[in-house]
């Protein structure tokens, strides 16, 4: 990937679209140092109160704890041989903020987050005894408890059924659009229609660089989709906010 540069605002949901191997996940994982680039650098210019900087910061100069306080990554799924209680999983989000003891504020932050995502009934169930959609919500709750400025989602809906996909996307929007916080989300996703419906902007990746970046109606044109995905499709407006993409056939 080369020459990728874009900016995001607070309270904004940005979806990354592209074919398999286009670098959607790679981009997200490089941002919070799960992956390090073989060559070259990644810079951010954060306007977050805890990491405010007018100059560019090289990501590799930050330590992992610092990064984890400003960015939180939500993987496609989490599988474990050693499941904890849901409450304790969400509590792990407080890990960057505590040393050994759990303070009352930490606990209350977790409880508040569980209620916010309607997970209070599962608080003391084991992580592996709840459904896939619930598990995904727990991991999102953990990310919220971490209190980051930027959420990074790596295909959060790919393992879920239709209803759970909608629930998760609505849940993400609810967090980001909450005007009490200034948070934003970057989501790598496959489903064009879910991206079009739930994101404010779309970042279209092609051959390791940005092909288009902007509101869904501008980025998702028949020509762009044909070039990136190699499929014929027709675009229709549902209302003045939403568009729908109907895929006909491969080209």
């Amino acid at each position: 990937m080369k020459d990728i540069s874009f900016s995001m605002k607070s309270n904004e949901v940005v979806a990354i679209l592209g074919i398999n191997g286009a670098g959607k996940s790679t981009l997200i994982k490089c941002l919070n140092r799960i992956l390090s680039p073989k060559s070259g650098d990644i810079h951010i210019r954060p306007h977050w109160s805890n990491l405010k900087e007018t100059n560019l910061i090289n990501i590799s100069s930050l330590d992992l704890v610092e990064i984890s306080k400003t960015m939180s990554y939500v993987p496609q799924n989490v599988a474990t041989s050693f499941p904890m209680d849901v409450f304790d999983v969400v509590l792990l989000g407080r890990k960057p903020h505590l040393s050994w003891r759990i303070s009352d504020e930490d606990r209350d932050k977790v409880s508040e987050t569980l209620r916010y995502l309607n997970l209070e009934d599962f608080a003391f169930r084991k992580f592996n005894q709840i459904s896939g959609g619930e598990r995904q919500r727990v991991i999102i709750a953990k990310a919220i408890a971490q209190d980051p400025n930027l959420f990074l989602f790596d295909e959060p809906t790919s393992d879920l059924d239709l209803k759970n996909q909608i629930q998760i996307m609505k849940c993400i929007r609810k967090i980001i659009k909450d005007k009490n916080n200034s948070k934003s989300a970057l989501i790598a996703i496959h489903d064009i229609n879910i991206a079009a419906k739930y994101s404010d902007k779309i970042l279209l990746l092609n051959n390791g660089s940005i092909m288009a970046y902007g509101p869904p109606s501008q980025v998702l044109t028949e020509e762009n989709i044909a070039e990136v995905f190699g499929v014929k499709c027709s675009i229709s407006s549902v209302d003045k906010h939403y568009i729908r993409v109907d895929v006909d056939d491969e080209i």
Partner: protein, 384 residues
């Protein structure tokens, strides 16, 4: 506070109470085990009387005890014709000399070894399972123990020893060869992208290699050597002396706080794997390397003195998980206590069941611990 938070606090308190209860229970079983044995001139009540009165005298005459300890440490080095004094030398005692010897020179170091060894192996098991994210891992998985066995075989069969002191030759060899394995682990940790599976696979490879070399030596060994080697590999608590146990205990005590310090890192790593850990601010490869080194050291110091004891390191962490869950801040202490208890229980049973024949603790642990472990896991519907 929020009602969910309160519930969490309550649950934590309850688990802490269980751990405390387990500690008291383990201590009581150690005292009980001190009174159990096959000796015909020492019954349980007399044993306890001796234990209580000697303990009292120990603390009341702490200056005499210190004098005796000082004498052992200094006088015996300068003169060759000197015998170590007992710590209560010069104080009138409750029991006869034989009774005192049975309790303090024979049973006491043995039970202390059971406690120290049980804690070390169980904690090492919990740490390794957590940082490798694999419930099948035990302290023997990384090949530390096979390294120790190879060292012992070198000493017994080839007479090749690191230390020339006869009593310590096998121990020193076993420890040195297990350190070689620890060095291999450290080297592996330097590879940038080494995964948890690679550690396990390399450990299995080391086990096979050491096993093959030991088998080759056995092929050429005499009957006496074979039997000595077999005895070593059984794993027994009768070998370490009082001084050995204190050494083991000191090393364990210096390593345990480090292990506990990593509890939160282990929680994230064992719960969600590497990517999850990184996004929570934990560097998985660094933590994994450090934890494996500490737990390998814990394992090798115990195994060098006792021989192969494997099962406690696998089972004690799993049994503890059933009680306190996967929070390592509680799992580490709980596993240690469970390990100590299992060792005391298995060893006491082993030396009383067919007395005067003593069945080695390693064998006993697997025979009684195995079915109990399977029962616990299956009762839970095989969730593990």
């Amino acid at each position: 506070m929020d009602s969910i938070s309160l519930q969490h606090v309550e649950k934590g308190k309850y688990q802490l109470l269980i751990i405390l209860g387990l500690a008291v229970f383990t201590l009581l079983s150690a005292v009980f085990a001190l009174g159990l044995g096959s000796s015909s001139n020492l019954d349980m009540v007399t044993s306890w009387k001796i234990v209580i009165s000697d303990t009292k005298k120990f603390f009341l005459n702490i200056d005499t005890v210190a004098d005796n300890l000082w004498y052992n440490l200094t006088a015996c080095i300068s003169s060759s014709s000197c015998e170590d004094r007992s710590l209560l030398h010069g104080i009138e005692r409750e029991g006869t000399n034989i009774q005192n010897a049975i309790i303090w020179d024979w049973r006491f170091p043995r039970i202390l070894t059971a406690i120290v060894g049980g804690i070390a192996l169980a904690v090492a098991g919990a740490l390794m399972q957590g940082c490798l994210g694999n419930p099948l891992v035990s302290p023997l998985t990384l090949g530390v123990a096979s390294g120790a066995a190879l060292g012992a075989a070198f000493a017994i069969v080839l007479g090749f020893t690191i230390l020339s002191i006869p009593e310590l030759a096998i121990v020193a060899n076993a420890f040195f060869f297990s350190l070689v394995v620890v060095t291999i682990i450290i080297q592996l940790g330097k590879i940038r992208s080494i995964s948890a599976e690679s550690y396990i696979l390399v450990g299995i490879a080391i086990t096979f290699i050491c096993g093959a070399i030991v088998s080759t030596m056995q092929y050429f060994a005499t009957d006496a050597q074979l039997s000595q080697l077999a005895h070593w590999s059984f794993g027994s608590l009768s070998r370490p002396s009082g001084g050995n146990v204190i050494l083991m205990g000191l090393i364990l005590a210096s390593l345990l706080p480090t292990a506990l310090k990593w509890s939160w890192d282990l929680n994230t790593l064992s719960m969600g794997g590497d990517e999850f850990a990184i996004s929570t601010g934990v560097n998985p490869s660094k933590i994994r390397k450090n934890i494996l080194i500490v737990s390998a050291l814990m394992t090798s110091i115990v195994i060098a003195f006792t021989g192969l004891i494997g099962f406690v390191g696998l089972a004690a962490p799993h049994m503890s998980r059933l009680i306190v869950g996967n929070d390592f801040r509680k799992l580490i202490p709980c596993s240690g206590l469970f390990g100590a208890f299992l060792m005391i229980f298995a060893d006491t049973l082993g030396r009383t069941l067919f007395a005067p024949i003593v069945i080695p603790v390693g064998v006993m642990l697997s025979i009684i611990g195995g079915p109990f472990f399977m029962y616990l896991l299956l009762r839970r519907g095989g969730h593990h």
